[in-house]
C-alpha cells in the first residue's frame, strides 16, 4: 500500500539479457502485491481506513466527548463497546479478504517460468523474473509478464494467444515477432541477443504499444502486434521466447485492474439523508434541552445549591447549558446507533449468500452458481426499472446451430412435430465415425439424401467443407477440433463434417477433407476473403482431378445478384426458403459455385496478383478483382443457422415486462438480427401498436424521426376507432397491423410497410386515449449512428422522452461506449434504477455505469463478470434475481429500516421526556448497561432475523404475480413518508413508555410499603417495558416466523432478563461495587405486581393502535402482496389479480409466433452474420499460420502424406483441362437486374412465380428419378442451370485419382449403410443411376 514508487517514467529502456544495466532504472519486479496489509501494518492501516468512514469518526468523537467528566452523561463503554465490536468485525473481514489476497498473490508469484539466464534455461518463480529477462513460454501457459515476442517455434515467429482474461474475447489472436528476432530460434542465439527496447511507460491501454527495438545498429518499430501481455494464454503454439518489458504491477493487466467505482443503493442514499436529518433533529433536541437546562439552573438549580452546588468550573447557568447540550448529544446519539450500519451490512451479506446458495440459479450445464460479487446492492435489485441487455451471449447463447438448409430447392430441417413427440436427434456415428457427437439435427431426409448420393447435397456440403477459414486441430485420430473465427462458420463446417464431408486439415496451398469416408485433398488456389462490404467469401480450389472451381458463400442480398441467369427458378424457390428462415429468426447464407477453366483462372489470378501488388488502393483493386470472378455463379442452396436463444429468455422478458421493467437491448448486431431476436424473445410482441425505427444518419433526420414517432404516439393514443384515416400512407395500415415495422429507412435492404395481416380486424384499435395506457404498446429501434446524434446534449431529452414511452427499445450497432452512454442517460433523466446485463468485454462499460451490473458467467470470457455486481450463467436467472431475491431484499431492508428507526426512537426519546423532570441534567432513564446492550444484544437479533429471513409471499408467488414487484420500483416501502411514520410511532411509544410508569410509579409502593418511585425501579420498569414493547412490535412486523425468528425473539427477551438479573446480582456487585450500582433492582422491581401491570398497560397502549391500524389498512386498502399472502394462506386461489394477466400468454406465443413471424414478410431477411474480421484468409494462404511442425499436423500428415503426395504428383502428370462446361456458364451481368428484385421482399412471391415452381418440381423429379442426359438440353435455360448443378458437382466429385475408385467406395459405403439400415430397395435402386450418370458427365466434361 505504501510502496514507494519512483517518479513516473518518461520512457522505458530495456536491454535484453543485461540485468545489471536494467537494474539502474529500478523497474518494478514481477512480484505482484494486491494485498493491502501485512502483519505489522494491518492494525494502523486498517484502523485508519475504518475511521475514514463518517459514522466511525462520529462515534469516535462521541467517545472523546464522553471522556470529559463534566459532559459525560454515560460511561465511556456505552460507546466504545459497540464501536469496538463494529471495528473488530470489519477488521476481521478485511483481514480475511487480505489473507486470501496474500494467498492468491503467493500462488501467482510462485508460478514457475523458464528464464534464460547466462545462456541456459532455468526455472524461476514468476516473482523473480526481471525486466530484460528472456523467458520461454510453452503451450497453454499463462504469460508471466508483458513480453516482447522474440521468436517462436511456429514459422515466421507467429504465435497464438487467447486473451479472454484481458478483454473477454474468446477467439484466438495472432502475434508475430519482429522478423530479425524470429530467426534467432534456439536459446543459444537468444542468450546472445542484446537488443535494447525503448518504449512507452507502463499504461493500461490493452490494444496499443509503441516502442522501438535497437539491435545491431538498426531500428525496428514495435507495435502491439509484437507483444504478449500478462494474463494471456499461449495456444496452438509449442513454445515461444519473449523479452520482459513490463513486469508485475507495470503490466497492462495489473494497470487495468483498477478499483471499481463504489456503488451505493438508493436506500443507502436515502439512509444517509435521513441520518443527516436525524443528526439535525438530535441537535435540535440538544438545543431545546440545553435551553431548558439554562432556565432550570437559573430558576431552580441556583436555589438548590445548598444541596447541590455548581461545579467549580461551572459557575453560571449558561455554561451549564452548554455542557448539557453536549451531554444530551451523547445520550441521544442512539437515535442513529452504530449498529444500524453493521446490521445493514450483515443483512445484505445474508441476502448475498442466499443468492449464492440458490439452486434455482445454478446452471448445471456449466456448473456455475449465481454469485453476488458485491454485497451492498441487494435491495436495489427490488427496484429495477430499466434493464439494459446485451444480445449476443446474453439473450442468445452465442451458439450457432445448423438448423435448416435449402438444397437445390428442397428445404431440410423442418421437423414435423406431430403429436407433440420429441423429434429424434439424428445419430451420425454409424454413418460417419468422424462426426461431432454434439451436433444436433433432426431431419432424416437430409441424411438420406446424402446417403443416396444426391449430387446437389454432396456439392452443398463439399462447399461448406471447403469454403471457410476455419482451422482444424486433430489431437488424436478422429478427434477434430475446429477453431473458427465466427461461430457461424464453425457451425457450417461442423454440419458438413457430420454429413460426411469432413474438413481435416489445411496447409497454405491445400485443404484435406474426408468425403464420405474418402480422403480428398484439394489444392487451394485462392481465398477471396470476407469483408463487410463484400459480405461473402469464396475459395478457388482445384480438385484432385484438376478441375478448378470457385465456391462462394455469402449474404443472400449480394450473392443472388451474382448468379447465372439460368438459376432463376431455383433462385426464386431458394429465396422463398430464405424468407422463411429469416422469418424464423435464423441467420441465412446463400451458397453458390462456379466452375473456372484453367484459362480463366490464370487470367484472373494474374489480375489478382497485380491488384495485390498495387501500392495504392490495394483494397479497392482487390475487391474489384474478386468481384470480377464472383459472377455467373450457380446456386447450390442456402443455409440457416439458428442463433440460439438462451433457455427461458422469452419467458423471462415477458415476465419482467409484466413486472413493469423496461427492457432495452443494446447490441452491436445488425438491425435485422436484433429485430428478429427482439421478436423471438418476445420483446416485440403482437400487442405492439407500432414499432418505430430510427436509423437516420444526420441530426435532422434523427430529430425528425423522433418527433414523428412522438407525434404518432400521441396521435394514436388520442385516436378513436375512426380517427385513423389521415396521415401518411402506411400509417393507417400500421394502426391496424399491430406489429408492422413501419417507418423503415432506406438502405436497410428491406421494404417499407408491413404486409397484410390476416387478423387485423380482430384488433380493437386504440383502446384508450390515455397516453400512459397506450404507451406500453410501442417499441423503438434505433441504430448506432442515429444514437450518436440522439445522445447529443440538445437531443437527449427528446430521445429519452420518446424512448421511455416505448415498452421495448432496441439499440443496434452500438459501440461499448454508447452502451454506457445510454445507461448514463437514463440514470440522469429518469431517476430510475438501472440494471445492465452482459457477457462480453464490450459490456463492461455498461455494466460499470449502471446501478447494478450483471455478468453472464460460465462463458469463457470473464471480463464482464469481473466488472459485474452479480453474475450467473443464464439470462433467465434474472427473473429470479429481481422478482424473488431483489424483491425480498428490498422488502426486508425496508421493514428492517422502518423497525430499526422505530425502536431507536422509542428507546432514545424517553431520555428527552425525562429531561423535563430531572432538571435537564442529561440523566439517563436507563442503566448504562442497558444502553450499551440495547442495540447490540437485546434488540439486534430479532430484527436481523426479520431482515434476513422475512418473506411476505413465497418465491413462486412472486414469479406468478409479477405486479408484486411494483412497490419496489415506486419506492413505496421505505421513503421519507414511511420514515416519518416510523419516527412518529417511535416517539409515541417513547411518550407512553415514559409517562405511564411516571404516573403509575410516582405514587405506587411495594407491598411492604417501600415506594416504587426510586430511580432504579423506574429505570428497570421502563427498560423492561421498552424491551417488551419492541419485541411485540417485531413480532407483529415479522411475517415469516422461521425457527430462527422464534429463537431470536424469545431469545432476546430471555437474554434481557437473564443479563439484567446477572448485572443486578450480588456477585458482580461484590467484585465491582462501583460499577454495578443496580444491585438488587431487578429482583426488587420485577416481583411487584404493579410493575407488571404498568408494563402490560404500556404495551397495550403502544401496540393496540398499531394492530388496529394495520387491520383496518389490510381491510380498507390491501396491497397486492397482502391479497396474495391472504389467498396463499387461506388456500383460496380462484381469483387472479390483474398482475397475472398473461399466465398463458407467453406460454402460448411460442406457437403463435411461428405463424406471425412467417407472415411478417417484409421485415425478415437477416443477413450473413460474419462476425469475424477479415484478413484471416490472407493469413492462411500466406501459410504464416501453418504449423507444419506442430503436433496435430504431424500426426495427421504422417498418415495422409501418401495421399497428399500422390495427389500432388498426379496433378502434375494428368493436367486435366478445365472441366467447366462452357455452355452453361452464364453470361456475366445477365442477372444483375435480378438481385434487387429478389432482395426486395416477399412480394416477389406473386402469381408469376407459379410456373418456376412447377418447373422446379419437374426438374427435381427428373433429377432424382432419371439418369437421362436429355436433361442437359440447353434449350431451357432455367432447367439446364438446375441440371448443370448435379452434373458439375458429380464431375467434381468423380475426379479422383481413379475414377472408378470413388464410385466404388461410395457404393460400398452406401451399401453398407443401407444394408444395415434395411432401406427400401427403391432407394437402393437409385444408386446405380448415380454411378451411371457419371459416364456421360465425364465424357461431356472431357469433350
Amino acid at each position: 500500500m505504501f510502496r514507494k514508487r519512483p517518479p513516473p517514467e518518461e520512457e522505458r529502456k530495456v536491454k535484453a539479457n543485461d540485468r545489471e544495466h536494467n537494474e539502474k532504472f529500478q523497474y518494478a519486479s514481477n512480484c505482484i502485491m494486491t494485498s493491502k496489509y501485512n502483519i505489522l501494518t494491518f492494525l494502523p492501516v486498517n484502523l485508519f481506513e475504518q475511521f475514514q468512514e463518517v459514522a466511525n469518526t462520529y462515534f469516535l468523537f462521541l467517545l472523546i466527548l464522553q471522556l470529559i467528566p463534566q459532559i459525560s452523561s454515560l460511561s465511556w463503554f456505552t460507546t466504545i463497546v459497540p464501536l469496538a465490536l463494529v471495528l473488530s468485525i470489519t477488521a476481521v473481514k478485511d483481514a480475511t479478504d487480505d489473507y486470501f489476497r496474500h494467498k492468491s498473490d503467493n500462488q501467482v508469484n510462485n508460478r514457475q517460468s523458464q528464464v534464460l539466464i547466462r545462456g541456459s534455461l532455468q526455472n524461476e518463480k514468476w516473482m523473480n523474473v526481471k525486466v530484460g529477462d528472456i523467458i520461454k513460454l510453452e503451450n497453454n501457459q499463462f504469460v508471466a509478464a508483458d513480453l516482447l515476442l522474440l521468436s517462436s517455434t511456429e514459422p515466421h515467429g507467429l504465435c497464438y494467444i487467447e486473451t479472454a482474461e484481458l478483454d473477454g474475447e474468446t477467439n484466438m489472436k495472432v502475434r508475430q515477432s519482429v522478423s530479425v528476432t524470429a530467426e534467432l530460434g534456439d536459446p543459444n542465439n537468444l542468450a546472445l541477443f542484446d537488443g535494447e527496447v525503448v518504449c512507452e511507460p507502463p499504461n493500461n491501454k490493452l490494444d496499443r504499444f509503441c516502442g522501438t527495438l535497437y539491435w545491431r545498429d538498426k531500428k525496428y518499430p514495435l507495435t502491439n502486434q509484437n507483444m504478449l501481455l500478462r494474463g494471456c494464454v499461449l495456444r496452438n503454439t509449442e513454445a515461444c521466447y519473449g523479452l520482459v518489458i513490463f513486469a508485475g504491477p507495470d503490466t497492462k493487466l495489473m494497470q487495468n485492474s483498477g478499483r471499481t467505482k463504489f456503488k451505493r443503493t438508493s436506500i443507502d442514499r436515502l439512509m444517509n439523508t435521513l441520518v443527516l436529518w436525524i443528526f439535525g433533529f438530535l441537535v435540535c433536541m440538544g438545543l431545546i434541552l440545553a435551553v431548558g437546562n439554562a432556565v432550570w439552573e437559573r430558576e431552580v438549580g441556583s436555589l438548590f445549591q445548598s444541596y447541590l452546588p455548581w461545579d467549580p468550573p461551572v459557575d453560571n447557568f449558561m455554561f451549564s447549558a452548554f455542557l448539557s447540550f453536549w451531554s444530551y448529544v451523547i445520550i441521544l446519539n442512539t437515535v442513529v446507533p452504530i449498529s444500524l450500519y453493521v446490521s445493514v451490512e450483515v443483512i445484505r451479506l445474508g441476502h448475498s449468500y442466499f443468492i449464492n446458495w440458490d439452486r434455482q440459479m445454478f446452471c448445471s450445464r456449466c456448473n456455475t452458481a449465481a454469485e453476488a460479487r458485491t454485497t451492498t446492492l441487494n435491495e436495489e435489485l427490488g427496484q429495477v426499472e430499466y434493464i439494459f441487455s446485451d444480445k449476443t451471449g446474453t439473450l442468445t447463447q452465442n451458439i450457432m446451430s445448423f438448423n435448416k438448409c435449402s438444397i437445390n430447392g428442397h428445404t431440410f430441417g423442418e421437423v414435423m412435430n406431430t403429436l407433440g413427440k420429441q423429434p429424434k436427434r439424428l445419430d451420425f456415428t454409424p454413418f460417419n465415425p468422424l462426426a461431432d457427437p454434439d451436433f444436433c439435427f433432426y431431419d432424416e431426409k437430409l441424411l438420406e439424401s446424402v446417403k443416396v448420393g444426391d449430387l446437389h447435397t454432396h456439392e452443398f456440403f463439399r462447399l461448406l467443407s471447403l469454403c471457410h477459414t476455419v482451422m482444424s486441430e486433430e489431437k488424436s485420430e478422429g478427434e477434430l477440433v475446429y477453431k473458427a473465427q465466427s461461430p457461424d462458420e464453425g457451425a457450417l463446417v461442423t454440419a458438413a463434417r457430420n454429413f460426411g464431408f469432413v474438413f481435416r486439415s489445411r496447409t497454405p496451398g491445400t485443404i484435406t477433407t474426408t468425403e464420405m469416408g474418402r480422403t480428398v485433398t484439394y489444392s487451394l488456389l485462392a481465398i477471396l476473403d470476407f469483408n463487410n462490404i463484400r459480405k461473402r467469401m469464396s475459395v478457388i480450389v482445384r480438385n484432385p482431378e484438376g478441375r478448378i472451381r470457385l465456391y462462394c458463400k455469402g449474404a443472400d442480398t449480394v450473392l443472388l445478384e451474382r448468379l447465372h441467369p439460368c438459376n432463376q427458378e431455383l433462385m426464386t424457390i431458394t429465396s422463398d426458403h430464405l424468407n422463411e428462415y429469416a422469418a424464423d429468426g435464423l441467420r441465412t447464407l446463400a451458397l453458390a459455385y462456379r466452375d473456372l477453366s484453367e484459362h480463366e483462372w490464370e487470367a484472373w489470378s494474374e489480375s489478382q496478383r497485380c491488384a495485390d501488388k498495387a501500392t495504392d488502393c490495394r483494397e479497392d483493386r482487390l475487391a474489384a478483382a474478386y468481384d470480377k470472378i464472383e459472377q455467373d455463379m450457380i446456386l447450390l442452396g442456402a443455409t440457416a443457422i439458428e442463433d440460439k436463444l438462451q433457455e427461458g429468455v422469452p419467458e423471462t422478458i415477458a415476465l419482467l415486462s409484466l413486472a413493469n421493467v423496461k427492457i432495452w437491448v443494446l447490441t452491436g448486431d445488425k438491425q435485422e438480427t436484433a429485430v428478429n431476436i427482439g421478436y423471438s424473445c418476445k420483446m416485440l410482441t403482437d400487442e405492439m401498436t407500432e414499432v418505430f425505427i430510427i436509423s437516420g444518419h444526420t441530426v435532422q433526420s434523427v430529430r425528425q424521426d423522433l418527433r414523428r414517432a412522438r407525434e404518432r404516439m400521441i396521435e394514436l393514443s388520442r385516436a378513436k376507432d375512426g380517427g385513423k384515416d389521415g396521415g401518411m400512407e402506411g400509417w393507417a395500415e400500421a394502426s391496424f397491423t399491430r406489429n408492422g415495422l413501419k417507418n423503415r429507412q432506406e438502405g436497410d435492404g428491406t421494404t417499407g410497410g408491413g404486409s397484410k395481416q390476416p387478423h387485423c380486424s380482430s384488433f380493437p384499435s386504440s383502446p384508450s386515449s390515455d397516453m400512459d395506457n397506450i404507451s406500453g404498446e410501442f417499441a423503438l429501434i434505433i441504430s448506432g449512428h442515429s444514437l450518436a446524434h440522439a445522445l447529443e446534449a440538445d437531443m437527449e431529452a427528446e430521445f429519452v422522452s420518446t424512448a421511455c414511452a416505448c415498452k421495448a427499445v432496441i439499440c443496434c450497432r452500438v459501440t461499448p461506449l454508447q452502451k454506457a452512454q445510454v445507461v448514463e442517460l437514463i440514470k440522469k433523466h429518469k431517476k430510475a434504477v438501472t440494471l445492465a446485463i452482459g457477457d462480453g468485454a464490450n459490456d463492461v462499460s455498461m455494466i460499470k455505469s449502471a446501478h447494478i451490473g450483471v455478468g453472464i458467467s460460465g462463458q469463457e470470457g470473464i471480463q464482464a463478470v469481473l466488472a459485474s455486481d452479480y453474475s450467473f450463467a443464464q439470462f433467465r436467472f434474472l427473473q429470479r434475481l429481481l422478482l424473488v431475491h431483489g424483491r425480498w431484499s428490498y422488502l426486508r431492508m425496508c421493514r428492517f429500516l422502518c423497525y430499526f428507526f422505530y425502536k431507536n426512537f422509542a428507546f432514545t426519546m424517553v431520555h428527552f421526556w425525562f429531561g423535563f423532570f430531572c432538571g435537564f441534567s442529561a440523566q439517563t432513564v436507563y442503566d448504562q448497561y442497558f444502553i450499551t446492550l440495547y442495540n447490540i444484544v437485546y434488540t439486534s437479533l430479532p430484527v436481523l432475523a426479520m431482515g434476513v429471513f422475512d418473506q411476505d409471499v413465497p418465491d413462486h408467488r412472486s414469479l406468478e404475480y409479477p405486479k408484486l414487484y411494483e412497490p419496489g420500483q415506486l419506492n413505496l416501502l421505505f421513503n421519507k413518508k414511511e420514515f416519518f411514520i416510523c419516527i412518529a410511532q417511535g416517539i409515541y411509544t417513547s411518550v407512553v413508555l415514559f409517562f405511564v410508569p411516571y404516573v403509575v410509579l410516582s405514587n405506587a409502593t411495594q407491598i411492604n410499603g417501600v415506594p416504587l418511585a426510586d430511580y432504579q425501579t423506574f429505570a428497570v420498569t421502563t427498560a423492561t417495558a421498552l424491551v417488551i414493547v419492541v419485541s411485540v412490535q417485531i413480532a407483529l412486523d415479522t411475517g415469516f416466523w422461521t425457527v430462527f425468528n422464534h429463537m431470536f425473539v424469545w431469545g432476546s427477551v430471555g437474554s434481557y432478563f437473564t443479563i439484567m438479573f446477572a448485572l443486578h446480582s450480588q456477585t458482580l456487585f461484590r467484585i465491582f461495587p462501583n460499577q454495578f450500582r443496580f444491585v438488587g433492582s431487578a429482583h426488587n422491581t420485577l416481583l411487584q405486581p404493579v410493575v407488571w401491570l404498568t408494563i402490560a398497560l404500556a404495551t397495550a397502549i403502544c401496540v393496540v393502535p398499531v394492530l388496529a391500524f394495520r387491520f383496518l389498512k389490510l381491510d380498507l386498502k390491501p396491497q397486492l402482496s397482502d391479497t396474495v399472502r391472504y389467498t396463499q394462506l387461506v388456500r383460496q386461489k380462484r381469483r387472479k389479480p390483474a398482475g397475472r394477466t398473461i399466465g398463458g400468454a407467453w406460454r402460448g406465443t411460442g406457437s403463435v409466433s411461428e405463424g406471425r413471424l412467417g407472415a411478417r414478410g417484409g421485415s425478415r431477411r437477416s443477413g450473413y452474420a460474419f462476425s469475424h474480421q477479415e484478413g484471416f484468409g490472407e493469413l492462411i494462404t500466406s501459410g504464416k499460420n501453418m504449423r507444419l511442425s506442430s503436433l496435430a499436423l504431424a500426426n495427421f500428415a504422417s498418415k495422409h502424406s501418401s495421399n497428399l503426395i500422390e495427389t500432388l504428383r498426379r496433378k502434375k502428370n494428368t493436367h486435366t483441362p478445365p472441366s467447366t462446361s462452357g455452355e452453361c456458364s452464364p453470361a456475366p451481368g445477365n442477372m444483375s437486374g435480378m438481385g434487387p428484385a429478389l432482395s426486395n421482399s416477399s412480394s416477389v412471391l406473386g402469381g408469376s412465380q407459379d410456373t418456376p415452381i412447377e418447373e422446379e418440381t419437374d426438374t427435381g423429379i427428373r433429377l432424382s428419378s432419371s439418369s437421362h442426359p436429355a436433361a442437359l438440353e440447353p434449350a431451357e435455360p432455367g432447367a439446364s442451370a438446375q441440371v448443370a448443378n448435379p452434373d458439375s458437382s458429380a464431375s467434381a466429385a468423380a475426379r479422383t485419382d481413379s475414377p472408378g475408385g470413388w464410385a466404388r467406395s461410395l457404393e460400398t459405403v452406401q451399401e453398407a449403410l443401407f444394408g444395415r439400415r434395411g432401406f427400401a430397395s427403391a432407394s437402393c435402386s437409385q444408386s446405380p443411376p448415380c454411378n451411371a450418370r457419371e459416364t456421360p458427365t465425364l465424357s461431356k466434361a472431357h469433350a
Partner: protein, 403 residues
Amino acid sequence: MFHSFGKHFLYTGLEGGSCHSQYGGWSNVWFLLSQCGVCPAPNGQSRKGGQVKATATYRILAMVKQEQKESSDRPDNTAFTQQRLPAWQPILSAGIVIPGFVLIGLAFIGVGVGLFITSQNIQVLELDYTGADTANPCYECGRQSTKNCVCTMEFSLSTLFKGPVFFYYGLTNYFQNQRRYGVSKDDTQLFGDLDAIKTPTSDCAPFDYDGNNRSIVPCGALANSIFNDTFKLYVKTNNSGKKEVPLDGKGIAWWTDYNVKHRNPDVTPLKDAFKDTVKPINWPKPVYELDTTDEYNNGFINQDFLVWMRRAALPDFRKLYRRITADEYHDGLPAGNYSLEITYNYPVLTFNGRKKVVLSNVSWMGGKNDFLGIAYLVVGSLCIVMSIVMLIVYAKFKFPEED
C-alpha cells in the same frame, strides 16, 4: 490457474470488501489438471505416446473431478439455503384480530375494575408541614434556621386507619434525580472499603475533602443532603394526655441495600475505621454515631441513611420513614385525635420545596393508585370499541377476497 487468476482479479476489483468467491476450490484443481494434462511432455521425446497417455490420465482425472466438482459446486439443497424454512406466517385476519381485541378489552376492564376498587379502599393522609404559609404550625420553624426547632401538627381520624400503616415523608420540587446529584457518591466507600474512606472518588466533589484535606465520610452531595427532620406521633387520650405511637424503623430499606450494597468496615469499634475523616458538613454527627443504640442500624447500614441514599426518580417523591407495627396498632390507627411532633431541621423553602408527612396503608398492589385502574378501564373499553369498529369495517369492506 485460470480461476485463481479470476479470483485474483476479484480481490483487486472488489473494494467494499464483500464476500469472496466461494466457488473456486475445485475449479482451481480442475483447471490446473486440464492445464497439466495437455502440456507436452517436457523431454520432447516419445511425444506421441506421452501425449496419448497424458490425455488418458487427464480424462480419467477429469471424470473424477467432474463428479466431485458437481457435488461441491452445486449449492446445498437445504431448507435454509433455499429459503424454504418451515415458517409460521401469521396474518391479521378478522377471525383473530376482532376476538383478540374483545378478549384484551374484557381482560383489561376486569383488571381495571379490580384495581380501581382496591385503590379506592386504600386510605391516605397527607400533612404538609413546610410552613410556607402563616397558618401552618411550622411556619416559624421554616423561617428560622435554628436547629431542632419543634412544631406540632394536629390531625384527627374519624374512622379506623387500617393497618399496617406506613409513615412517609415527602419532598416536592426536590431533584434527587439530577445527574450530578446522583453520581455524587462513592459506592465503594459505602461498601465499607477502607481505602475509599480515606480517599473518596472525585465524583463526590466538592463534598470529598474538607478544607484540611480530610476526607468526608460518607462523601458526596447525596449523603450530605440527608433528610434530617424527625417525627414523633402521639395519639390523644381521653384525658387530654397523649401517648406516643411506637414507630418501627426496621426493614424500611431494600433488603439488598441493607445486606449487600452497604456495609460497614470490618473494624471494631466502628469509630476507628473513620479516623482522620470528618462528617459531612450538614450532618450533626458522624456516620458511626447515627444510631449508637443498635449496632446493626449504625454507620453505612443505618436504615434512614439507606432510604435517603436510594434516590428518587422524580422531583416529587416520598420516602418511607417508619412503619406502625406495634401490637396495639396492628389493626391500624383507631379513630381519634393525633398530634405529630416534628423536629424541623431540613430547609426546603429556599428552593420552593415542600415537605409533607404521608400516612398510608397498602394493598396487594401497593399504595393508592387510582390512575392504574382508570387507565386499564379506558384501554379495555377502547379495545371493545375498536373491535366493534373493526367488525363494522370488516362487514362493510370485506377482504377483497370475496368480491
